[in-house]
């Protein structure tokens, strides 16, 4: 069993978790809520992408862009309808509202779109590297032959693109700088003349755009159905909290850790324990919350 190959798989998995987790964690940082309905935003994006690719004669990348726009619009509308009016009530009512909204959205999607899984028609090419020496340690090989597929490259490429764009946004643009200021201290930001509602809206849109992208990426790899996003929400949440809730850079790190752990635990856990690999993300989440609730980014999460 080649470690290198499994690391590649882990990085791919981590990539689409990361795209989604950034959106999730930005909402957490700015709006101060855990949005449990966020998985449904992925589903919405995936369906928008599928519909576009299926009905219009446009190439897939255009469909992806449409999905991102669709996700952004959906996110803003939902926020305005459900979350903005209760912004002042604190994290717990917001969390509960998002849980209710998630149930409603998921079933609404099922009602409208039906229950069958749909697929994107894509072609995949595989690039294989052979002749890589095995560097054996016990039963494991550190290197060994490996392959990547065009799908892998697209997913990782999209993720890297998102990271770069995000970094640019947060450091170079007024909106991004205001976002960071607001994440640090909302009152101070307001005093300094930041239009906090506008920033919140921007974050909702950004989160929706990222969810749309992540939704399509997941859908290309698997399929689209009403449960697509929901089945990923706990991984996204685990990644965001692992990275330090509210920190986009932390979320990226958290996502790759989750991706690697999922991949490596599936590959290397002893026989009887392999079944645990699906629970691994949650195990990490619980451990992080216990040991270092502030996550990797080490933001102060103090009570009182």
């Amino acid at each position: 069993m080649g470690l290198l190959q499994n690391v590649i798989f882990g990085l791919v998995t981590g990539s689409y978790i990361a795209v989604a987790a950034i959106g999730f964690t930005l909402v957490y940082g700015i709006v101060n809520m855990i949005n449990f309905a966020y998985g449904e935003y992925l589903t919405v994006g995936a369906f928008v992408g599928l519909l576009t690719a299926g009905t219009l004669p446009v190439p897939l990348p255009v469909a992806v862009l449409v999905a991102m726009v669709g996700g952004g619009v959906a996110s803003l509308v939902l926020a305005r309808l459900f979350f903005t009016p209760i912004n002042h009530t604190g994290p717990v009512p917001m969390l509960l509202t998002s849980i209710g909204l998630g149930i409603a959205l998921r079933n609404l999607i099922r009602l409208v779109a039906g229950r069958n899984a749909r697929y994107f028609d894509t072609e995949t090419a595989t690039f294989r590297l052979t002749g890589v020496p095995d560097v054996s340690v016990g039963p494991f090989d550190l290197l060994g032959d490996f392959f990547v597929t065009s799908e892998h490259l697209v997913v990782v490429g999209c993720a890297v693109g998102v990271f770069l764009a995000l970094h640019g946004l947060l450091t170079r643009t007024d909106v991004g700088i205001a976002m960071r200021a607001m994440g640090d201290d909302e009152d101070l930001a307001r005093v300094r003349g930041v239009d906090t509602q506008r920033i919140r809206d921007s974050v909702w849109v950004l989160a929706g755009v990222l969810a749309g992208l992540a939704g399509v990426l997941v859908a290309i790899q698997t399929n689209v159905s009403a449960g697509t996003g929901y089945s990923h929400i706990l991984q996204i949440l685990a990644a965001a909290i692992l990275g330090g809730a509210g920190s986009p850079y932390g979320a990226i790190a958290g996502s790759y850790i989750i991706g690697l752990v999922l991949s490596l635990s599936t590959a290397f856990l002893p026989g009887g324990m392999a079944e645990l690999s699906s629970a691994m993300a949650f195990l990490i989440l619980v451990v992080v919350l216990l040991v270092k609730p502030s996550g990797l980014a080490a933001r102060e999460v103090r009570e009182a």
Binding site: F9, R110, R115, T124, T126, T149, Q221, T222, S278
Partner: protein
């Protein structure tokens, strides 16, 4: 038959000695005292009946209940089963219906959740007056086993492959005697049996070592266990087995682990969507090897999504080799645009045996249906493929033997069916039937009385 013309209580009154009357409790509780002590075992007593059926002549209405997966884990399979059920219903009612009465079907969502299923079954039996239940999954039947026995209403279901049912259910070969009955029947071949057909094919093709990848739910595990028992008994061995969760976005690590071992063929037991993801990953990774697919995977969608890499893969399906599959298929196609799945033909069969049981019994009570499911499905009678044929034969005083779409529908003493197993091989973008392993060959793998 004549012995059971009166109204019967659905629940056995086993005890009733010396009870005092608690009169006037809230008005809604009828309290019975004394009078029918010690009728242990007969399971019969006079009392109220919850259903709307009555003995003798044409009942006002006949209701079948269908617990369904309109939401929940397997909801994507429901359209194929609903459409098959509706097609059968149409077919039955077009022929005048059992006892010249139109059958009404009430379908209620269980979300594949045992708790909901319990409520749904109660409501179907007690409020909707269903005289038979035509649904329920293994994951609902197993935890509700005792409860279903108490209902004393036949459950004839197209879904469960579970080995749990191998030695449970049916009339134990004694149709008239209800005491030993276990009220659950399935018109789908159990995993123990048809998997044996697949195992046989795998061995016949010379694959003596396999890898196994399966999902972690009851259906997937039970398939693998059904496969491995005869496979290993006949000399095959398992090089590696990997169990995975369903609906994951990637199975590449699991494949990496699986193919770390040395084997020629690998068995896939996953629901369709997860299997497509997994097989796409497998194709992309170029792992090679002969794929052996579980019954549910012989579908066009699998080939369409996975592509040419799947050429040569075979699926063994028990669900479409009944003597009258064509009759079913025709009716199914004209009933809507849902895709046929492995449980559609069994759903058709279930409707038919129940309707025929009513026609033969001359009444539509649950007990009467239970007594007649065995007689109309097996034995010496005139072979019939539709309700209309059966109704006519019965009217002529003949016995009938329903030959179904999924299997010949000959219930074993445990309420199970045997059938031949169809091997379909993927070739040039579609599955083509390559071989039919006759029921008799498969039967050899299963001990008499153990199924």
């Amino acid at each position: 038959m004549a012995s059971d013309n009166g109204k019967t209580t659905r629940r056995a009154v086993l005890k009733g000695v010396g009870a005092g009357g608690l009169v006037g409790m809230a008005g809604c509780l009828g309290v019975e005292g004394g009078g029918e002590g010690g009728t242990e075992g007969s399971g019969e007593g006079t009392g109220t009946t919850g259903g709307s059926t009555s003995g003798g002549g044409s009942p006002d209405s006949i209701v079948f209940g269908q617990p369904a997966a309109q939401t929940g884990q397997w909801d994507f399979l429901q359209p194929g089963v609903s459409q098959a059920t509706d097609a059968a219903l149409q077919n039955i009612n077009d022929a005048g219906g059992p006892l010249d009465t139109e059958v009404e079907l009430v379908r209620r969502d269980t979300g594949v959740n045992p708790q909901e299923a319990r409520t749904v079954v109660t409501q179907l039996v007690e409020n909707d007056g269903a005289s038979a239940i035509l649904g329920l999954f293994s994951s609902e039947i197993n935890p509700l086993w005792d409860f279903l026995q108490e209902q004393r209403t036949p459950v004839v279901t197209p879904w469960p492959g579970s080995t749990f049912l191998d030695t449970r259910g049916g009339d134990k070969g004694t149709p008239e005697n209800l005491d030993d009955d276990e009220w659950v029947w399935r018109t789908v071949v159990g995993d123990t049996v048809h998997t044996a057909g697949n195992a046989k094919r795998t061995l016949d093709e010379g694959y003596e070592t396999i890898g196994v990848i399966n999902g972690n739910t009851e259906g997937e595990r039970s398939y693998v266990e059904g496969f491995l028992a005869p496979y290993e008994a006949e000399g095959g061995s398992v090089a590696q087995r990997v169990e995975v969760g369903l609906g994951e976005s990637s199975y590449q690590s699991a494949l990496e682990r699986l193919f770390g071992a040395d084997f020629d063929a690998f068995l896939v037991s996953l629901p369709q969507e997860s299997a497509i993801t997994m097989l796409s990953d497998w194709a992309d990774g170029g792992y090679g090897g002969q794929p052996v697919l579980s019954d549910t995977l012989g579908t066009q969608a699998v080939i369409d999504q996975v592509g040419d890499a799947l050429n040569g893969a075979w699926a063994a399906s028990p669900g479409q080799s009944g003597p009258n599959y064509d009759t079913f298929e025709q009716a199914f196609q004209s009933a809507g645009d849902a895709e046929v799945n492995a449980w559609s033909p069994p759903a058709w069969d279930a409707m038919h045996v129940v309707a025929l049981a009513i026609e033969r019994a001359g009444e539509a009570t649950p007990e009467a249906i239970e007594r007649n499911l065995g007689p109309v499905s097996g034995g010496e009678g005139t072979a019939v493929s539709t309700f209309a044929e059966g109704k006519e034969a019965l009217a002529n005083g003949e016995e009938v033997n329903f030959e179904g779409a999924a299997t010949p529908t000959n219930f074993t003493r445990h309420g199970n069916v045997f059938g031949s197993v169809t091997i379909s091989v993927a070739k040039n973008g579609e599955f083509t039937e390559a071989e039919v392993i006759p029921a008799e060959d498969v039967r050899g793998f299963v001990e008499e009385g153990e199924y």
